[in-house]
Amino acid sequence: MANSTLTKKINLYGWLFVIPAALFIFVLNFYPMISAFMLSLQSGRGNNLKFAGLKNYARLFQDEMFLTSVGNVLTYLAIQVPIMLLLALVLASMLNDPKLRFKGLFRTFIFLPCATSLVSAALIFKTFFSIDGIANISLMALHIISEPKSWLTDPFWAKAIIILTITWRWTGYNTVFYLAGLQTIDRSIYEAARIDGASASRQFFHITIPLLKPVILLTTIMSTNGTLQLFDEVKNITNGGPGIATLSISQYIYNLSFMYNPQFGYAAAVSYAILVMVAILSLIQMKVGNRK
């Protein structure tokens, strides 16, 4: 009898712990989300919104700018995320070596870029790659190019520089996650493999990666999520240009809301498109992750 009232009391407390945080998310995240969904069913300019059903969603498929921005973001995703995560894995496994000297120093320097704000990172790289920036000066000094190249006004290179900036900024973050994960792996497994004659790369691919699967999955989903919602870097380095070669979906939403004739209903539909893509990709990644 006393036990069940105690259990009841404990249960109550259990919920008390959880409710404030949950409430915040419901009010400040889910509610606006639902409100945005309502908005996406309306169309019109400014505050003149009328009900339009799913028309906005149908419009998405005819919207060349939207489709281009999706293409851009998927390009970033396909190139940047694998490179960054692979690099982070390699770095983490190197840093995990007990015989490595200056470990603390390396680790600090690698994580350092995460201390910058995205705006700062964007500005730094924009300055580097400007016409009279360091990149051109160094490349000319090394005789790799003969005259200054306008990196940011070239559709291909503009994308490349954005990818470079993101990689610079986030690799350290993922490295720390992998490093932590690696430290849970027993040294003896590696020892046994070494005695069996396995090379470092064999060990890497057949021991490290499989054992780190859950962490790799986590970082992949986080990176996918972040890349699909990319805004700060694109806005501050190229502003979507040249033309719309680097436009991200979030930036398109921003333009639809604040730069053109405001179409908040349609902008809301575009943002739901991001949500759907993130959800689908995350599901696929989880399925793949759980299968192997």
Binding site: M65, P155, G241, P242, G243, N261, Q263
Partner: protein, 433 residues
């Protein structure tokens, strides 16, 4: 246990009181005493031009109305638009200023989308003395919303010393065509090594300027997108591309870099609205070395003239203002009524009046030392009178972006017709609901 709950609550209260206490204090309700201190907040950009002009206007008004202080908050145009729309869309206008500066090509869009946000000025300010085309730009459905400010009349601003080195004179650049301009630019580059002109890459400034010089725009009289069949636009893109490819025009990546090319002597000229005078004049070592003449026109387009407009803006009074009458009176007495204001701001900033009484002032016929003694303001006012009038419409920004993209694609080698067809499709898409 109780104790720990208490501690937790206190912590939470402390945190939240810190949080809420740091918020802004409630502003006192507006008083009706005419002599009570009034602060008019103004959002605008460009310290050398608009901000300078507004501060001077504030000084002049304060002389007769010591209780009124004009406070300018420097707000870049892109930020201003975004803040404005964010606040208006959420019906949260308490933080908006009393007066804003609005680019001419955005006035229609903003008024049509948020008509209650702005104060209609009919009958409150005498706008009859302003150049008609500027008043039209700020009129929607017969109501006036903008107090016209500066003229965007364009000119070709030349480094007379550099073109002289190439064996050319200012008159060689007068009343010419774009094709001739490119030829001359090649000569200058060849003889002096200096590029003729610069522009921000992926910005459609040149095509816009060229369109207006031919009296057309990206929309026809019915408001439909007029892009892919627009022969003037095609020609404009062709010429811009040729300018860049021939080396006559240097592309820079943003506005700062553009201003730097002027101040550092990287280019021998610029073609832009007359408000560029303020930025040109910021470099003391170039004093005496500049000159102005009119804008090139198209060779093959009959309606094209040697005059155009770029930019230009007007002041608008916000409906959320606590002192709309003071704001209106301020604008009426300064930008709409003070010859002294225009005389003050003209020499240093190049702000050319669209208020006709001011344009008759002798200040306009003073020789300007920075421009080698040329009476540039007389000339520029003359140009302003010949600028073809166009209706910008409300989808200007969508169209601008689309043309910018088309231009960038054409620079990369795309076919002009297909680039414009894409642009038309995009604009029509954004125009549809």
């Amino acid at each position: 246990m109780k104790k720990t709950i208490c501690v937790a609550m206190v912590l939470l209260l402390l945190t939240s009181s810190l949080v809420f206490a740091a918020g802004k204090a409630e502003t006192a309700p507006a008083v009706t005493d005419p002599n009570a201190p009034v602060t008019l907040t103004v959002w605008c950009w460009d310290p050398m031009f608009n901000i300078y002009a507004m501060n001077e206007a504030g000084k002049i008004y304060k002389a007769d109305h010591p209780n009124v202080t004009v406070e300018v908050v420097e707000t870049p145009w892109a930020d201003l638009q975004q803040k404005l729309i964010t606040s208006l869309s959420a019906n949260a206008t308490s933080n908006l200023p009393d007066i804003i500066l609005m680019q001419d090509n955005a006035i229609q869009k903003n008024v049509v989308n948020y008509p209650e946000a702005y104060v209609a000025l009919n009958g409150k300010i005498d706008l009859s003395q302003f150049a008609q085309f500027k008043v039209d730009v700020g009129t929607v459905d017969g109501k006036n919303y903008g107090v016209p400010f500066d003229n965007g009349a364009t000119g070709t601003f030349l480094r007379s010393d550099i073109i002289e080195k190439a064996g050319l004179k200012v008159s060689d650049f007068t009343d010419i065509t774009w094709e001739r301009f490119i030829e001359l630019g090649k000569i200058v580059k060849q003889k002096t090594g200096v590029a003729m002109i610069s522009t921000v890459a992926n910005e459609p400034d040149f095509p816009m300027l060229m369109l207006q010089s031919a009296g057309t725009w990206m929309f026809d009289e019915n408001g439909k997108a007029y892009i892919k069949d627009n022969t003037v636009l095609k020609e404009a893109l062709k010429i811009t591309k040729e300018m860049v490819e021939s080396g006559v025009c240097v592309l820079v990546q943003d506005w700062n870099a553009y201003i730097a090319t002027l101040n550092n002597g990287t280019v021998a000229s610029t073609i832009n609205g007359c408000w560029i005078v303020g930025s040109i004049s910021a470099e003391p070592s170039q004093s005496g070395k500049w000159a102005v003449t009119n804008t090139p026109r198209f060779a093959n387009i009959a309606s094209s003239v040697n005059y155009s407009s770029q930019g230009g803006s007007g002041w608008m009074v916000m409906a959320n203002s606590k002192h709309p009458d003071v704001a209106i009176d301020f604008l009426a007495k300064t930008f709409g009524g003070s010859v002294e204001l225009y005389e003050t701001i003209l020499p240093t900033s190049g702000a050319i009046a669209t208020w006709l009484p001011a344009a008759k002032s002798p200040v306009y016929s003073k020789p300007i030392e920075y421009f080698g003694g040329q009476k540039i303001y007389e000339d520029l006012v003359g140009y302003a009178g010949k600028v073809p009038n166009v209706k910008y419409g409300i989808y200007n920004y969508e169209a601008r972006d689309a043309i910018a993209r088309a231009l960038s694609e054409v620079m990369q080698g795309a076919n002009i017709d297909s680039a414009l067809a894409t642009a038309q499709k995009n604009v029509e898409f954004l125009m549809s609901e």
